[in-house]
């Protein structure tokens, strides 16, 4: 029975799933091309400038991305992203607002239609007049999530892998012309008829030689696999929350509106909290605080520390995946509880 229901739901979702996965895959390929171009222009600039001026790259980035630039950096992943590192920059493709928007549209749209949508269309009555338990409907949707979420994740990974193949090996545009050995300065001063010559003053140092596709320009498509867990956890958590709202609802568009409002508020709270310190204490209350694909790609700890609640010092280490999967699971449990106890109203 559940199998029949699962196949039916998948059948209903197939077109939207195809569009979603295609968009995400194409975006990752497109992002690879964009990143290739940005890296080729940005990295030589930072390396060159840093080398010649003797300032550390990190310090230069700090100046460039402080103030108005901070907002942009927030959008692309915060301080953890090294703008000269190809893998770091490619990982931005997983937190890009467009990607998050597509993921949220999928999760909210699917879950809002799952229960409230069927009630709204009146087909829930047809479904529940069969020997189908309300819990079975929820379980069927859970199984559909277990099938569709990995497909969406794989589409993202496929896009990244194809993108990497298209741009590899990465090379830095005109970089070789910039790294000519520095000539010592020859200064001649004339003071009161006396001539002074200062020779061989050297400021800074020559920028390092960077090999194509090596070091910070190395691309490792398999490393993006880790991000799939983060994407899956984000999708599952939003689906779970929306499913719970959907279990209460009667009208699909009302549920859609409420869910979009909730998710949008969380998204904005997280973004504002990143750029405006006093607001940061609210970030842990948002789903997006826990959506961190970059540590999974870059091999950093999979933890959130709640430092926002402890004057910037780690308060407690919690695996962010656990929070999101837990939230999704809780949403489903709540949806099951509500849906099994509520009246199914007649279609209007």
């Amino acid at each position: 029975m559940i199998k029949t229901l699962v196949f039916k739901i998948l059948r209903d979702l197939r077109l939207v799933l195809f569009v979603t996965t295609t968009l995400l895959c194409l975006f990752q390929i497109f992002w690879a091309k964009i990143m290739e171009r940005i890296l080729a222009q940005l990295a030589p600039f930072f390396h060159g400038m840093a080398g010649y001026s003797g300032i550390e790259i990190a310090d230069m980035e700090k100046v460039v991305f402080d103030g108005p630039g901070k907002l942009m950096r927030t959008f692309i992943g915060g301080d953890s992203v090294d703008l000269n590192n190809a893998m770091d920059m490619f990982s931005v493709g997983y937190i890009h607002p467009l990607v998050q928007t597509i993921l949220c549209i999928w999760a909210i749209g699917r879950a809002a239609g799952a229960l409230a949508g069927e009630i709204d269309r009146g087909t829930m009555e047809l479904l529940l007049s069969q020997p189908v338990g309300r819990g079975a409907v929820i379980i069927a949707h859970l199984i559909v999530d277990a099938i569709t979420i990995p497909i969406i994740c794989l589409s993202l990974w496929l896009g990244s892998a194809v993108g990497c193949m298209l741009v590899a090996p990465l090379t830095l545009k005109d970089y070789d012309n910039m790294i000519q050995p520095m000539k010592p300065l020859q200064i001649e001063l004339g003071v009161a008829g006396l001539q002074f010559k200062v020779r061989d003053i050297t400021v800074g140092k020559s920028p390092p030689k960077i090999e194509a596709g090596k070091g910070k320009l190395e691309l490792r498509p398999m490393d993006f696999g880790g991000a799939m867990l983060a994407v899956a956890s984000l999708l599952f958590s939003i689906t779970g929350v929306t499913m719970a709202i959907s279990a209460f609802g009667r009208f699909r568009f009302r549920v859609l509106g409420i869910s979009v409002f909730v998710v949008l508020i969380m998204f904005l709270t997280n973004v504002i909290g990143q750029v405006w310190e006093p607001f940061s204490i609210l970030r842990p209350f948002t789903i997006f605080y826990y959506y961190q694909p970059q540590p999974l790609i870059l091999g950093k700890p999979w933890m959130v520390t709640y430092s926002e609640w402890n004057a910037g010092k780690p308060l407690v280490h919690v695996p962010f995946l656990m929070v999101l999967f837990g939230l999704g699971g809780f949403g489903y449990l709540l949806a099951g509880r509500i849906f099994s106890q509520r009246d199914i109203p007649a279609p209007i």
Binding site: L128, S129, P131
Partner: protein, 289 residues
């Protein structure tokens, strides 16, 4: 006993949609529930199907509680909703396959034959069908030979007269197969035509329930008396209303006793008609004419 409700009640705040419904339907019985819009017919059906949680009371189908053991209860039921909503992205056949799959059994073997009888093409997408055609597809679903109880909410809505007759024939066939049928309707003629028992619901309360046999043997008597005086009594004769010399009575008993009584009263004018449903329905829902 296939279906039994005991003091089945549904309240929405201060409003009582269904008030202590007590009824039972046996195997092979056709029960018609009459009542105007908002009387509580659909609420009763929806409680029996487990769509609504009763405020109090119980409904059981073959011993299974409609709310707490709904899956087992609904295994016994085929249901036709009043407001028909189907999966429009499917063809009729896909819908039948899907719903049969949910019931864990193959589609009825005579599907094509019945579809031809109903004059519908089940391979056409439901989205392109008229409301009458969709209703026919739904009837294919509900006239399930495997169901013990067929529940239909105003089944003849949007059906043409030919299809209405076919449906009533199918209800009779279902009864012959030993299936019970429970349907709500506004149309008294179709209830009279096929029902073994009829109930009248008014403001959420079942105000009348009787076997059709009794209704068919009962008579309504209208007489115009020669004077304004009292009338003699007769066993089985009940006064419904009186306006001066005009009387409306109901009678259940032998016809010769009635005719003898009329002869004694010596009315200026009189009529004797089978009781039928109309009189019963008017009694609860309409003003006497």
């Amino acid at each position: 006993m296939l279906l039994e409700t005991q003091a089945l009640t549904k309240r929405y705040g201060a409003f009582t949609a269904l008030d202590a419904l007590d009824m039972r339907i046996d195997q092979g019985e056709v029960f018609g529930l009459l009542g105007p819009n908002g009387a509580g017919k659909s609420t009763a059906l929806r409680l029996i199907l487990g769509f609504l949680k009763p405020t109090s009371g119980t409904s059981t189908i073959a011993g299974h509680n409609s709310w707490s053991d709904g899956v087992r209860a609904r295994k016994k039921i085929a249901y036709l909703p009043g407001e028909l909503r189907l999966y429009e992205n499917m063809t009729g056949r896909q819908l039948l396959d899907f719903l049969s799959g949910l019931r864990g059994r193959p589609v009825r073997p005579d599907l094509q034959k019945i579809a031809s009888h109903f004059d519908i093409d089940i391979d056409v997408p439901l989205a392109t069908m008229s409301s009458g055609m969709k209703r026919k597809v739904a009837l294919l679903l509900v006239l399930d030979p495997y169901a013990d109880l067929i529940i239909m909410d105003e089944p003849t809505n949007t059906l043409d007269p030919t299809m209405r007759e076919i449906l009533l024939d199918e209800v009779r066939e279902a009864r012959k197969r030993g299936q019970a049928v429970f349907f709500s309707s506004h149309v008294m003629s179709e209830v009279e035509a096929v029902c073994d028992r009829v109930g009248v619901i008014r403001k959420g309360k079942l105000v009348f329930s009787e076997k059709m046999v009794a209704l068919r043997t009962g008579r309504q008597v209208k007489i115009k008396l020669p004077s304004d005086g009292p009338i003699s009594e007769l066993d089985g004769l009940n006064l419904v209303w009186r306006r001066e010399r005009f009387l409306h009575l109901e009678y259940s008993g032998t016809l010769d006793h009635l005719m003898a009584w009329i002869a004694r009263v010596a009315p200026e004018d009189f009529s004797v008609e089978p009781m039928g449903l109309e009189g019963i329905y008017r009694k609860f829902h309409g003003e006497p004419q």
